[in-house]
Subunit: 452 residues, 2 copies
């Protein structure tokens, strides 16, 4: 089974957990059986593996998410990086040519596309597997999953099947309706279009070449920013005649707002929180290391992260976006491919961060023009390279890297460092990267960084 | 006018702003005309000065509050330090002998005692001034302020005047009643006993010597921990026959709970906060440097500090204490006589704090047995002394002080330092202080510290 998971853009509807650089699919909010928490992307990836351990998963996403994906799913997961955002049709075209040209997948194989963020159970993955089988067995060009509507939503497009069989030809696609029209559609047996579909790889490549002038994956990648923003439904789905829909009645929740997200939470609290006995229908997600105490609240969500604190009536929480749009602030926390960083203190001419490097990872070899840095290693073992000179470092060591000095740090074990940046203009743009040859002095498998 | 301000113990009812080491009277929550915020103790001190610029104010308080008092009111304010907590009678006896023996105040002068934490206006200070005049003019031993009750409170004792004149002899004191009895008292013209009273200094010294065996201030200070815990009302007030009460009808608010505190706030928000248009009767006090967003809340208080986050229905907030008692955590922020510190990061074997020293102040000269420290100066200018060697320091300088090494830092301008503490056992107890002679090398007026 080949699956393309579409990992969408940054959203602010789940602020303060999601923001410009951290998308909702990376928030660790779902409790696993072992008591640990996992994110949407970790959950869906784990679920796919449980249904089909040999499933080949490719995540189609933007460059900004690559670090988080590798941080949460490991290095081996397939990632097809979009050079910029161009909506779902170009993204799927790029992923299809990546599978064919880079991964050498045969054009005769079925490929399933689904978003990374619905909250689903095992039955969903059985269904998408069946979707791929329908494509191959019934010789249709597209097989789409139609979700049983639970209310007349205005958020989704609708698919009208020709009949009420489990698998039926599609009579029509309907764009997002108003509530009244949605009720009519549902009365006619329409299903939600959740953006889940399957095709033969060769079909998608034909469609891609029909609509975009390109030679192969590499060529498409290079000209990606010249492509029009166009959705897959509009470019392909709604025009296709040889298409079937499979009726899906299992759980499928779109966790786009705090209201729906908290419905999917196993327990009322993630993180340190106390609810007194007069709280009713209250959920807390606390990423800070200090307690949240809630008293006498009803139908409320409280979320605290290094970015800020939300306290909202659950229904009101769906109107969050314009308020968050007005908040402009320093990014306070980010997951990177090599680990994570958290801002501890901001002053006019200094910035103090805590850097956690995962074992075997390193930063880029880089320098800054306008700032000096002081690293104090607080735990772990590793090595620094400063202007070409390597030294072993461990807890207690202090490394000074003045402006223009080239430096990097390599983690042999997990390595935690307090980094004090000092200068008149501190910005993430002030960074020059340098190559460093993979010599004996530098035997760690190289991974990338964009910060510090 | 001599005023003894009783600055009471740490309270948890205003958590997360108040805690074991930070009392409610030090929270900067009241907006001044210049747009800056001031605390209860700063407000009352400023108000006293506005009514009587020559008023001699002595703050009777515990050792733990001395740093905060000097931090907020300056070095010149009179402080009578109680070696330990022994309730109001010993505290007033100690302050009285301090005024007489140390400050050389004549026994014939009137002294006024009042708590540091009611929320009052100028009229209150006019009233307490009058209270002192009554003592001298009417030759009574005690003159007490009786507050006009606004509801049948169970929180206060009551004073029953003999008649309804503004100044009357006291008929009886009544202990905190239940609500029904309180209504009866109020029907009889009883007033709240807010712990505000005046006396001739010689009278209080007589009472002190009657009940406690001591020679003078110094002697009382030394044996303070052997004294019984006993309230002034019980030991003196309720037994005194030559006593008058003055009826006070002005504003007098006890800001002991979030509910009452928020009533005294000029604006709904202190600190960075956004309330959407559906919020009603919501107050936010945010001491963090990230925003708090509130949506759809009613009758709620939200407070965020380095210690934690409270989100509470206002009425429920008065039941906070047992919940806060269960929270045991690292102190995350403290004001000291020399400035303040804030915990930025806690790891098993390291603690990172930000130290802000006020200009002209310094830490004690000290060493640690079980931890190394690294200081990175991020702003300002000053000097360090490490094992007797002084050097000038400024932003960008790094100072390493391994275990056993003696060290201090002196701020010439405001000085901000990131301090990384590293060791297997990091505790505030691991500290040895050393004298440092006031030589030419060390000309800064010495002040004290108890941290770092």
């Amino acid at each position: 089974m080949h699956i393309i998971l579409l990992s969408g853009g940054s959203g602010k509807r789940l602020w303060p957990l999601s923001n410009d650089i951290r998308s909702k699919q990376f928030i660790k909010i779902f409790k696993k059986e072992d008591g640990e928490y996992e994110s949407m992307v970790q959950r869906i990836y784990r679920q796919i593996r449980e249904v089909d351990k040999d499933a080949e998963v490719t995540i189609a996403t933007s460059k900004t998410q690559t670090s988080s994906i590798h941080n949460q799913l490991g290095e081996e997961v397939g990632v097809c990086v979009e050079p910029c955002r161009r909506d779902t049709f170009p993204a799927i075209a790029l992923a299809a040519s990546y599978l064919h040209d880079v991964k050498k997948v045969s054009g005769q194989e079925a490929v399933i596309v689904c978003p990374v963020d619905p909250y689903v159970e095992k039955e969903y993955f059985e269904a998408i597997k069946e979707l791929g089988e329908i494509v191959l067995r019934d010789s249709v060009n597209l097989a789409i999953l139609g979700m049983e509507p639970t209310y007349p939503s205005e958020k989704y497009g609708y698919v009208l099947p020709e009949n009420q069989e489990k698998v039926s030809r599609v009579a029509a696609f309907k764009e997002k309706p108003d509530a009244k029209t949605a009720r009519q559609y549902i009365g006619q047996g329409a299903l939600w279009n959740g953006g889940v579909f399957a095709f033969r790889l060769s079909y998608m490549l034909e469609k891609a070449h029909e609509l975009i002038d390109f030679k192969n994956y590499e060529d498409l990648f290079v000209k990606y920013d010249t492509l029009d923003k166009i959705s897959f439904d509009y470019a392909v789905g709604e025009k296709e005649k040889n298409i079937k829909v499979m009726h899906f009645q299992g759980q499928w929740k779109d966790l786009g707002t705090w209201n729906t997200l908290t419905e999917a939470m196993e327990e009322p609290c993630v993180g340190e929180a106390i609810l007194n006995e007069t709280c009713e229908n209250v959920h807390v997600v606390n990423e800070l290391n200090v307690p949240v105490l809630c008293m006498g609240l009803k139908d409320a969500v409280v979320s605290a992260s290094p970015e800020g604190i939300l306290v909202s009536d659950k229904e009101q929480s769906s109107y969050i976006k314009p308020f968050v749009d007005k908040i402009s602030q320093q990014i306070m926390f980010a997951e990177k491919s090599w680990g994570s960083f958290r801002v501890l203190d901001v002053e006019d001419e200094s910035l103090t961060i805590k850097v956690t490097l995962n074992p075997g990872h390193k930063m880029n070899y880089h320098s800054h023009h306008l700032r000096d840095e002081v690293w104090t290693v607080v735990s772990g073992r590793g090595r620094t390279i400063v202007d070409g000179v390597e030294r072993a470092v461990a807890a207690g060591d202090v490394i000074k890297t003045p402006a223009e000095c080239k430096h990097t740090i390599i983690a042999d074990t997990e390595l935690k460092v307090i980094e004090v940046q000092m200068g008149r203009e501190i910005s993430v743009q002030d960074k020059r990267k340098f190559p460093w040859s993979q010599s004996a002095a530098f035997p760690v498998p190289g991974t990338d960084s964009t910060q510090t």
